[in-house]
């Protein structure tokens, strides 16, 4: 009964972020400090994500999130928030280019059946940027309106 390496279905990175998620919203009162807000997923599918972004000089400088979902959903939102905040923040245009694939890669991969979960992170981000763009009349950002009921 040799258990080589870890006996997790997920990568070490996923495990790390799932067990110690970063940047999640601890206090509902913090919301008012943020400039954009997105929600994707639904309870029927078992995944729901909310994301808040703070923008300064066209750069995302802070991120908070809440997630209902499995370990990979939680870890992928957590690592996305870290990605966005590193090196002093992420320009909005660059943030819009982040894909599910990028997140998955940063996580060190995901089991095939779980790939769909990581896709929610970039969608929540896009929804938050859309919200920011709407509020600030930033049609130049060319971000699409998120779908109401997001099935995956």
């Amino acid at each position: 009964m040799k258990l080589e390496g870890n006996d997790w279905i997920y990568s070490k990175k996923v495990k790390e972020h799932f067990l110690n998620p970063k940047n999640f919203l601890k206090n509902k009162k913090e919301i008012k400090d943020f400039d954009g807000h997105g929600v994707v997923g639904n309870m029927k599918c078992g995944d729901l994500m909310e994301m808040w972004i703070k923008v300064k000089n066209d750069k995302i400088i802070d991120v908070k999130w809440s997630t209902f979902g499995c370990a990979s959903a939680i870890a992928s939102t957590s690592i996305l928030s870290e990605m966005l905040k590193e090196k002093g923040g992420t320009p909005l245009k660059k943030a819009l280019k982040i894909t599910g694939k990028d997140i998955t890669k940063r996580l060190g991969g995901l089991p095939a059946i779980k790939i769909h979960c990581s896709v929610l992170g970039d969608q929540a981000l896009r929804a938050a940027i859309y919200d920011y763009a709407q509020k600030n009349n930033r049609t130049d950002l060319k971000v699409e309106k998120p779908l109401e009921e997001e099935h995956h």
């Binding site: 919203l25 309870m43 078992g46 909310e50 997630t67 209902f68 979902g69 499995c70 939680i74």
Partner: protein
């Protein structure tokens, strides 16, 4: 880290006494039970004695026991055995079941539907129990339409939520309307009465992997007079109903397991029921918005299935796993598929709660200390996950 195993309904460890009983048949007394030399006869004898022991427990004759390779195989043999028999007579007919059955039943019926049988699933109430009235109406409706009801298959107790069906009454009802009843008793063997005469069933499936015996073992009780087509054709083993070299160690282990379960049933059921009720009470007290799935009374002694509002099952499972606590969930995320438990949906749980369910199945080796430790860790886990959840508003 020592593991706390709360997944006994998925499968049980092999009990030391059972392994010990079977071990000589691996490398010492290993012959084929169909061989004519002394070692073969001795294997045959072990086989026959196992059959005799089990017959006594099931209160049936030895010829009414067919050893198979799993619960799934027994179920497939029972259902297809009846269906193919009809098919060979140039007939088909209706098979009735209910919504919370194990996939082995549901998918067997789905397949028979593809080849032309009529299949009906009746619903259950919010405890997971079928309505005898609905079953009767379904049978008589079919018969009125001129459709022969060739089989009713209703599980004895559910593997996810532990709900116990009124099998005795169901059997009586089936016989009143001249139809046959198969029951899947895989989860019942350890704790419930499996006297076939008292239950009145015609076919009953049991397996070894849930009763501290071996994986890959099972049996089908088949009442005398019920006729089946075999599923595995070949040699003449098992009264020509199930071909293949007899798995003597597996059968010896199954017999020993059933014997031990029989002997300890009363005391173990009592002990485990008490522990279960303590566990449920504690959770409900310590963790707000936790909802027990299934019935409070018509429930397997070892089953706790509970949904936590605002959190998802796989996350709970994996965080408990980090604390050495092994559980199962009805969440889609932990099923290698994408749908939440069909059982929880059948009892009317909304998707959110179905995704947030955890099953603790207690066993022979469960202690109160383990339960206490688990409750403490569970409390913290739920609290944390609710903190990061967008749907939890205190």
């Amino acid at each position: 880290m020592k593991k706390i195993y709360f997944d006994n309904s998925a499968t049980t460890p092999v009990r030391k006494e059972i392994l010990k009983e079977a071990l000589p048949y691996f490398s010492n007394n290993y012959a084929n039970a169909s061989s004519f030399h002394s070692m073969g006869l001795s294997a045959k004898k072990a086989l026959n004695e196992s059959r005799k022991k089990i017959a006594k427990i099931l209160n049936c004759t030895q010829e009414e026991i067919i050893f198979t390779g799993s619960g799934t195989e027994s179920i497939n043999l029972a259902i297809k055995g009846i269906a193919f028999k009809k098919m060979l007579q140039g007939k088909k007919g209706t098979i009735i079941t209910q919504k919370t059955e194990h996939p082995a039943v549901l998918n067997t019926l789905a397949w028979l539907k593809k080849i032309g049988f009529n299949t009906i699933q009746i619903g259950v109430n919010n405890e997971g129990i079928i309505s005898l009235k609905e079953l009767e109406e379904t049978i008589t409706n079919e018969q009125k339409k001129g459709n022969e009801v060739i089989l009713v298959t209703i599980m004895y107790s559910n593997n996810e939520i532990g709900t116990i069906q009124p099998i005795k009454e169901i059997a009586q009802l089936c016989h009143k309307h001249h139809t046959i009843l198969h029951t899947d008793a895989c989860q019942a063997t350890e704790y419930l009465d499996i006297d076939t005469k008292k239950l009145g069933v015609d076919l009953m499936t049991l397996n070894g992997s849930k009763v501290y015996a071996f994986k890959g073992t099972g049996l089908l009780y088949k009442k005398k007079g019920i006729e089946l087509e075999p599923l595995l054709h070949g040699g003449e083993q098992e009264f020509k109903l199930r071909a293949g070299t007899e798995n003597v160690p597996g059968i010896v282990a199954l017999a020993k397991a059933m014997e031990l379960a029989h002997k300890e049933k009363k005391s173990e059921s009592k002990r485990i029921t008490k522990l279960r009720d303590y566990f449920i009470k504690k959770i409900e007290k310590e963790i707000p918005k936790s909802y027990l799935n299934g019935s409070r009374t018509k429930r397997l002694p070892n089953n706790i299935n509970i949904s936590f509002e605002g959190v998802e099952g796989e996350s709970i499972l994996l965080r408990l796993n980090e604390k050495g606590i092994l559980v199962s969930t009805g969440s889609a995320c932990a099923s290698y598929s994408l749908d939440p438990s069909h059982v929880l949906l059948a009892i009317g749980r909304e998707h959110a709660l179905a995704h947030g369910s955890i099953r603790f199945t207690l066993g022979k080796y469960t202690t109160k200390k383990e339960v206490d430790y688990t409750i403490e860790k569970l409390k913290k886990t739920i609290k944390f996950l609710r903190e990061i959840s967008p749907v939890w508003r205190e």
